[in-house]
């Protein structure tokens, strides 16, 4: 994956040097929504050190991009609500408690609100289609859900109150715009997001912990070119 991105970047930079941008710049606003899918340790459903027990959930994103033929500025505000994998969490308690008592779990959702800025590299438009890579950094405000685990024989065996934490965020994505006309178009976007907030937990050894939050988003929506003469 990294190698492909590097090759694409190299091609685009070469293209950039060989073909200076024309003045046909676009100022694009877009809104997309879709699904956010956790991966890596965030999605792990075993009792490992950083297991997040996160499950896919809905996401929405608003973007503003300003770009020329192959290079430009990008920014976005996104929100994702990822479910807590209660079934997987319960299975781990049943396993580690050797079936002693009946375990019950109540948990809310993970939530991530991200504010990103960065740049985009794209191939020149062809057949009303734009393909662009997005590289963004910024800030994410994440919320860890309420989690409460009870055992019928022992009572509450794990509890954590809902808490929010802010941290730097990075994102890389691939976006495809298909312009229906000069002003409106459809957009398909896939991105990989990472942030690592700290959450307070009164029962944790140090009173807080870090959680690596990694998720992929696949969104579809529309884009609008704000730079058309009519506007």
């Amino acid at each position: 994956m990294k190698r492909i991105i590097l090759v694409l970047m190299l091609v685009m930079i070469t293209d950039l040097m060989a073909m200076p941008q024309k003045t046909t710049r676009k100022s694009v606003f877009g809104v997309t929504s879709g699904i956010s899918i956790p991966f890596s340790e965030f999605a792990n459903d075993r009792f490992t050190w950083d297991a997040g027990f996160a499950a896919p959930g809905p996401g929405i994103e608003a973007e503003y991009l300003y770009y020329g033929k192959i290079f430009g500025f990008s920014s976005s505000v996104g929100y994702a609500s990822l479910f807590f994998n209660e079934k997987g969490y319960l299975a781990e308690y049943d396993r580690t408690m050797n079936g002693y008592g009946v375990n019950e779990i109540t948990a809310g959702n993970y939530q991530v609100m991200k504010f990103l800025v960065g740049f985009t590299l794209k191939v020149p438009e062809f057949s009303n289609t734009e393909i662009m890579l997005l590289f963004n950094i910024g800030y994410a405000r994440s919320i860890h859900p309420d989690v409460r685990v009870t055992n019928s024989e022992l009572g509450v065996i794990n509890s954590m109150k809902r808490d929010g934490g802010g941290s730097p965020a990075v994102s890389a994505g691939l976006k495809i715009n298909y312009w229906l006309n000069d002003r409106y178009g459809l957009s398909l976007k896939g991105s990989l997001d990472n942030t690592r907030p700290a959450f307070f937990d009164a029962t944790a050894t140090d009173g807080f912990f870090f959680m690596p939050i990694d998720y992929a988003s696949i969104n579809i929506g529309f884009v609008m070119n704000l730079n058309t003469p009519e506007l």
Binding site: F47, T48, W49, D50, A51, E92, Y93, T96, M97, N98, Y100, G101, F135, I137, V149, E153, L154, G155, V156, I157, N158, S159, M160, S167, P168, A169, V170, A172, N194, T195, R196, P197, A198, F199, D201, T203, A204, T205, D206, F208, F209, F210, M211
Partner: protein, 325 residues
Amino acid sequence: MYLLIIPLLVTSCSGHRLNYDKGIIPPVPVNFASVNSMHDDYNSNLQISWTEMTFSLVFSSNRNSFGEDFDFVSYGGHIFYDLMSGEFEMRTISKAFGLLDAVNSENNEFGPYFTADFPYYFPWYKEGEDRRFFYSSDPDGNLDIFCCGYNFGDGEFLASGDPFAVTPLNTEFNEGYLSIHHDAIASRETAYFMSDSDGSYDIYSAVSEEGKLISESTVVTVARSPVLSSSADDKCPYITGNVMVFASDREGGFGGFDLWYSVYGSQGWSAPVNMGDEINTEYDEYRPFVVPTGSWYLNDLMIFSSNRPGGKGGFDLYYVGVPKR
């Protein structure tokens, strides 16, 4: 690319979410395999420091005589509990104590009981506390209760004086398994032990002279406990706080000797309650003792012995988590 890397480095610190608020000792019995042998291993007592998660275990075994007489053997160890995975483990290494060299004999030694908590890392922190080691032995063919003072030095229990019989408690019958009931009566020491002086084994209380310890008293008030005793054999009482655990083959059990408990309240000892089929089996369960875990664990630690199948042979030691009572 550096712009992407820097935020990742900034946030790469330690700290992980825990899946358990407190430790949980396995609520179903676990064979204490690291200390058991193919011979009989039972009658244990364990001194533990929860702050350091270290312990010393003493129990009776006939391993050294290949099945003949019982002597005390000892282990040191660490307790591990992973609040992430919920795994509990008691790791041990064989460790000799000078105290046991003083009390072990060619006779049988049973029912070890330490009066003091496990010493802290700094031994002088608890200088001057009451340190007596009670046990039973049968030099005359029947079990009698003995006592030996001890100190803690160089990482081991050392005898401070010679063992002596607690004469006011001993008879021509079998007495053993003394356990102190702390603060039961002001200015007197109360202990419980087993005796078969009435034919079957029963649980007796003993109250010292005023201002004296049981082991110092020349006259001790001894009485059979009608609540704790039955027409069957009731043996091996052990008191932690206000809870007594003991072994009995009375009716209402699951077969052989079962483990029972009773709680001491304003009305005295409650009617004994069987500890249930998670712990008891149709085989023998014997000499339980409970170690309070304070705020570290959701349940208390109990160690007992059993000859149930699946062990290493004969009686084996098992540990299990029991509800705090």
